[in-house]
């Protein structure tokens, strides 16, 4: 058997031939429809948004938007000011969105893991419990938001009444306006979305060999030792992906805040998607709305990068 030549001696030509041979092996042409769809559905709108973000585009220039005056980065500068009609800057909205998405994810993750472990074990009525766990996730977001609007009403709502009965807050506390609106939004989202983590973890648990648990039981490991020594290490990749997707979903959640608070929203609940909508469809400042959309895109590139890395790792493992 001839030893392969050192890498340094491999010519660029032979490498490109190998690449061509590799591509020829795979029916990559089948990707063309998908690629075309991606160009039309994703790339062109992104480029159009980038273009809109540098235009002085409002209700009077909308019809001729291709030829609207170019104003450079003025919309981006305006996005960071709060003396606009909403009274909230993009930076404030970014803070609200980040706080909201990170807090909800931090809360739903342990709830989802514990629920998945509980539902993974065999017991009488497991099917019913699993079905009940999914209820919040299958209720449409707008229905959840309407329900939350009734439940958080001060004086008469279920939540203020329970909190008052427990002595945690006054029954008169306003949850739908002012700073508490953020907490009403966060708690509602936690209630509605924890089953996502639960589903992901439950699916991951099916891949953990039963023998590992049996061996741990023989070795005298308790439930916590099994959780931290077997379950979590083996679910690390699945869990990381679930947490990442969950954060992205919370960050982009428009419907919940829109239906709960309408437009304009309270400052504390002015999440980025809602602020973008407000500028585009309520005050008709399309350039500013596009600038905020671009900033959102830039922020989401960071978790997007990690997501791509994770899916690559998963592919390599396969």
């Amino acid at each position: 058997m001839q030893p392969s030549p050192p890498a340094a001696n491999r010519s660029p030509l032979s490498r490109s031939r190998r690449t061509i041979a590799l591509w020829a092996d795979k029916p990559l042409w089948m990707l063309i429809p998908c690629a075309l769809a991606l160009i039309v559905i994703v790339f062109l709108p992104v480029i159009a948004t980038l273009y809109l973000s540098i235009l002085d585009l409002d209700i009077s220039t909308l019809r001729e938007w291709v030829t609207a005056p170019i104003i450079g980065l003025a919309n981006f500068a305006a996005a960071f000011e709060s003396n606009n009609v909403l009274g909230v800057s993009a930076l404030q909205s970014l803070g609200v969105s980040l706080g909201f998405s990170l807090l909800t994810t931090a809360a739903v993750t342990p709830i989802g893991i514990l629920a998945a472990i509980a539902a993974h074990r065999h017991f009488r009525g497991r099917g019913i419990v699993r079905a009940i766990f999914l209820i919040p996730y299958v209720i449409p977001t707008f229905a959840v938001a309407l329900l939350a609007r009734i439940m958080f009403l001060n004086n008469t709502g279920f939540v203020p009444q329970v909190l008052a009965a427990l002595g945690l807050s006054s029954i008169d506390t306003y949850w739908l306006i002012g700073p508490n609106a953020f907490w009403a939004l966060t708690f509602t989202d936690i209630w509605a979305t924890w089953p996502f983590i639960y589903l992901m973890v439950l699916a991951g648990l099916q891949t953990v060999p039963r023998e590992h648990f049996e061996a741990a039981t023989i070795d005298g490991a308790g439930p916590f030792r099994k959780l931290f020594g077997i379950v979590l290490p083996q679910l690390r990749n699945v869990l990381a992906l679930a947490v990442l997707l969950s954060t992205l979903n919370h960050f982009g959640n428009f419907t919940l805040a829109f239906v709960m608070f309408s437009s304009p929203p309270p400052d504390s609940a002015a999440v980025l998607p809602l602020a973008t909508y407000f500028y585009a469809f309520t005050s008709f400042e399309y350039g500013l709305a596009s600038a905020i959309a671009v900033l959102t895109m830039v922020v989401l590139i960071v978790p997007g990068y990690f997501y791509i890395r994770m899916t690559r790792i998963a592919n390599r493992i396969e």
Partner: protein, 456 residues
């Protein structure tokens, strides 16, 4: 390598340019010569974008649109298809998409306060003297109604269709129990009436309140501002006037119902109009400040069914016996529907004008009143309805005192600025528990700046 990059750049630029150009609006259609006479338009059709049914009145809306469609076909031989929008957000989205793509509905039935915004898009046909003649002539309508058609006779885009004046709705039973014989005519009377009702009906609050609603609060503040002689923009339309004393006083009075007079439910700072209406129909509050005749439909099957009456919004500011100089009754905004033709659909303008004309004919105006309580807008229609339905007279009198909102391209910013101000002041009041005039002034000043920048 460089050549390939260059070719790629050119191709990309070409594709983008083509895509952008295809998406750009501004198509120019040549209008066809106007046809005339019954069946002159046979075989043709138009699409009208109109408001979808309100809660609980779908059957009535369906019948109204069927009547309008039948009358249109009878008059022209053509057909009309209706496309519906549910609320302002969807209306805006459809209008924007249609204007940018240069295709969509031919004509829109828009709410009166949206006129300034639509005119600012320059995407709607400016009506000529000939166009007005085809729908019965401008003289067929009152000046106050026409002031919501456009900025002057030469720049009008909207033809009035029907009117829905805003009124106060009150619970007659509560009034009788409190020994009140007539609805309030001044804002001082509004306060004293509310307090009397509260004293005579324990557990009931005098008035409804919905500062979290995106529409009702600005209408209230707008009316009160005009009664004080103020306006949201200067007469020449160049200067924003949201931080004037009149607007401050109006907003202050609106909130004084909560923090000073305590005539509204203490939990109502986060209410929207649906919650306020629900409080009225359940008997929790005695008066609704921004109501329509549609309140009767909402009250069906509730404890207040058969106990509701209507009156004009009080028109003399608090602490006064008559309005100050320059003040107007401003009992209601000119509220209702107007027809406007999309510029890209100018080839169907003749049919759109026929639709506008038919919407004001005798059959349609009788039907719309019987089904939905909508009043006619033409002088002739008002007179005929007054004779055929004498119970409509109080509403028609209120209609005579309606006043158009400022026809400004920045109207959306004005409306939003007032809504945001009211929302934030309500938040401040809820959080601190006390009235902060400085905070109100600061918020109005911010809103004023935003409007001024939109008026640039």
């Amino acid at each position: 390598m460089f050549r390939r990059k260059g070719v790629l750049a050119v191709v990309t630029a070409g594709v983008l340019s083509a895509a952008l150009a295809a998406c750009s609006g501004g198509s120019t259609a040549t209008p066809e010569p106007a046809a005339s006479g019954t069946d002159a338009y046979a075989g043709r059709s138009i699409t009208a974008l109109v408001a979808a049914a309100g809660a609980g009145s779908k059957a009535q809306y369906d019948e109204y649109y069927k009547t309008l469609s039948d009358e249109f076909t009878k008059a022209t031989g053509a057909t009309v298809n209706f496309q519906f929008y549910s609320g302002g957000a969807q209306q805006n989205t459809i209008v924007q998409t249609s204007l940018v793509s240069g295709s969509g509905p031919d004509v829109i039935g828009y709410g009166s306060s949206v006129g300034g915004t639509l005119a600012a898009t320059k995407g709607f046909v400016t009506l000529s003297a000939e166009d007005w003649k085809r729908v019965g002539g401008r003289e067929a309508w009152n000046d106050s109604t026409l002031s919501a058609s456009g900025a002057g006779a030469d720049n009008s885009i909207g033809i009035p269709s029907f009117s829905v004046p805003f009124v106060i709705a009150y619970n007659k039973e509560y009034f009788e129990k409190a020994g009140i014989s007539a609805p309030p005519k001044t804002w001082d009377e509004w306060i004293t009436t509310a307090k009397k009702v509260q004293d005579a009906n324990p557990g009931v609050y005098g008035a409804g309140f919905d500062p979290a609603d995106p529409l009702d609060p600005w209408k209230f503040v707008w009316s009160y501002t005009h009664q004080l002689g103020g306006a949201m923009v200067s007469e020449d339309g160049k200067d924003a006037q949201l931080s004037t004393d009149e607007v401050k006083k109006a907003t202050d009075f609106y909130f004084s119902q909560f923090y000073e007079h305590k005539i509204v439910p203490p939990e109502s700072l986060s209410w929207n109009s649906a919650q306020m209406l629900s409080a009225f129909t359940s008997g929790q509050v005695a008066m609704l400040p921004i109501a329509t005749r549609g309140t009767l439909s909402a009250a069906k099957g509730t404890p207040v069914e058969g106990k509701i009456d209507f009156a004009q919004l009080p028109s003399v500011p608090e602490g006064m016996t008559e309005r100050p100089e320059g003040g107007t009754p401003a009992a209601s905004i000119v509220s209702g529907q107007f027809w406007a033709v999309f510029k890209y659909a100018e080839k169907n303008k003749d049919l759109a004008l026929e639709l506008a004309k038919v919407s004001n004919n005798d059959v349609v105006i009788q039907k719309q009143y019987e089904l939905l309580g909508w009043a006619p807008t033409t002088k002739d229609g008002i007179e005929k309805l007054s004779k055929s339905h004498p119970e409509s007279r109080p509403f028609l009198e209120i209609q005579a005192n309606m006043e158009a909102t400022e026809f400004s391209p920045a109207w959306t910013q004005i409306q939003t600025g007032l809504s945001v101000t009211v929302n934030k002041v309500a938040e401040n009041l809820a959080t601190s528990g006390q009235w902060n005039e400085g905070f109100l002034n600061e918020q109005l000043s911010n809103a004023d700046q935003a409007v001024q920048s939109a008026l640039k």
